[in-house]
Symmetry: C2
Amino acid sequence: MTTIPLEYAIGVDIGGTNTKCGIVNRRGEVLQYEQLSTPEYETAEEFVNALCVRLNLMVEKVGGHDLIKGIGIGAPNGNYYTGTIEYAPNLRWEGVVPLAEMVSKKMNMPTALTNDANAAAVGEMQYGAAKGMRDFITITLGTGVGSGIVANGQLIYGHDGFAGELGHTIIRPGGRPHWSTDLNGSLEAYASATGVVLSAKEMLADHPDKPSMMRKYPEDELTSKHVFDCAMQGDEIALEVYRFTGQILGEALANFVMFSSPEAIILFGGLIKAGKLIFEPTIEHMERNLLPIFRNKVKVIKSDLHEADAAILGASALVWEMKQSHASL
Amino acid sequence: MTTIPLEYAIGVDIGGTNTKCGIVNRRGEVLQYEQLSTPEYETAEEFVNALCVRLNLMVEKVGGHDLIKGIGIGAPNGNYYTGTIEYAPNLRWEGVVPLAEMVSKKMNMPTALTNDANAAAVGEMQYGAAKGMRDFITITLGTGVGSGIVANGQLIYGHDGFAGELGHTIIRPGGRPHWSTDLNGSLEAYASATGVVLSAKEMLADHPDKPSMMRKYPEDELTSKHVFDCAMQGDEIALEVYRFTGQILGEALANFVMFSSPEAIILFGGLIKAGKLIFEPTIEHMERNLLPIFRNKVKVIKSDLHEADAAILGASALVWEMKQSHASL
């Protein structure tokens, strides 16, 4: 029987809709779980108060304050260096919110904060598919495209704390405009749930005479789940959507490999449920666009983490990385 | 008067044509200088013998072996982790050459080796424009495009030692084929001396009726220097070549910024002699392709290092970074 040291980390994932929090051991098991509605709280102070009530509840259940090493928070536009959330478009609190400091003071625990995609990368390194790796990239293909980059065993935060916005790199100059950034041809405009739906609509319009099961949905009700279901049933246009999405993603991954030469790229999120429909074209086009020196070296793999727990695990993993000096206390 | 510690580093830059070597102090002053012809030596052993004769000569002149901390070598396809040169296309020695070990044994000194572009980045950090920076990228715009990436104060080598091949990232999918890699639309195919000449030829052919001073050169004799001279004299097509080159480079830089969020991007090499002709469109198109969160933050600046000394300085800077464990002894 392996002895697990009696030390726990708190992970908090702040999303636009829900905030999830949990207490996690070093093995990545979520022992306690709570959640609250993020937009229900008008001010960050009210939110922090409500959050800490839940955190204290969980802390009591696992045996008290002394067993907790610290708190890790993943949040949109989270800045690791300052512990602040800065101008997050999907949160009600405006401007720069010193969230790590607020939580740390109230809980009297060291607290680290970063953006959700960076937290996911640390989670993979601590508990998941990247265990033992020193150089890898995680890419979350969900509603949007998030990413975290680890090099030399460290997350790359950049000089301002905002590194790793790979979803916004331009992979098709002059290409599809992004619905919120207005940049043309960014990875997120293609390789996200939203991008998949846009690709499907474009292809349906480009081939008006070609039959497709996707035509049974009114255009503004088509979702990426519909595209997935139709592809699974062999719908040719839906299959072509995945092939095209994989091509764009593969081209982007090739560029990322020539940047940081990772051992693996770990994919996560709704899009990878399509399995080989997305992995095959992705890997094919990545390899095709690599210098020979990089070919057949980089693993493109699925995340190991349970999707339901991943955000909490990622946030909690920040705690194990903490040095004393990182504490906001 | 500042006291300079009496400790020196040897820098060796191995190029396809010449190998340059020098002895450098901590301030980046080259105290001794020698060079030899690289392709004159059929085997790596003969080359190392000839190199070490020159190194010993220089070592004697500065006061002997005890004052030298170590040797840094910059070489094409140099692998930092193994100290080997691997399949360098522009060197006569085939396969994998354990050059760091060979030099280290012969000189009885710790020796580190990396590729020339990575060495340039370490040189900027030690002596040049990146002094004190922890996050920056250097890009050499010469015959080809080389690059070195520093994040968290460390050079990014990647899991295999080959990170930082930004010249080969695809910036125009399906674009201009590269003369040696066969990849389409890579940065190097545009933003190098070779790329500038290709752009000029394309534009001259696309506008056969438009007068240009460049037309006085036979097509296969046109060089990037000619394009530069004509642009300086106001030649419209030559000016457009620089604008276009800057646009491509700026688009590429935007992607690099969204990867590692550097404090600065430091440009080096022949192309930047064009000054604002290249810097203005580069910065304009970089800013235009960035997420708002990154805009007006990243400095795009010229290298501080003298071009003649830069390669030796970069290689020598590897020595100051050495930990005892890095030594090949």
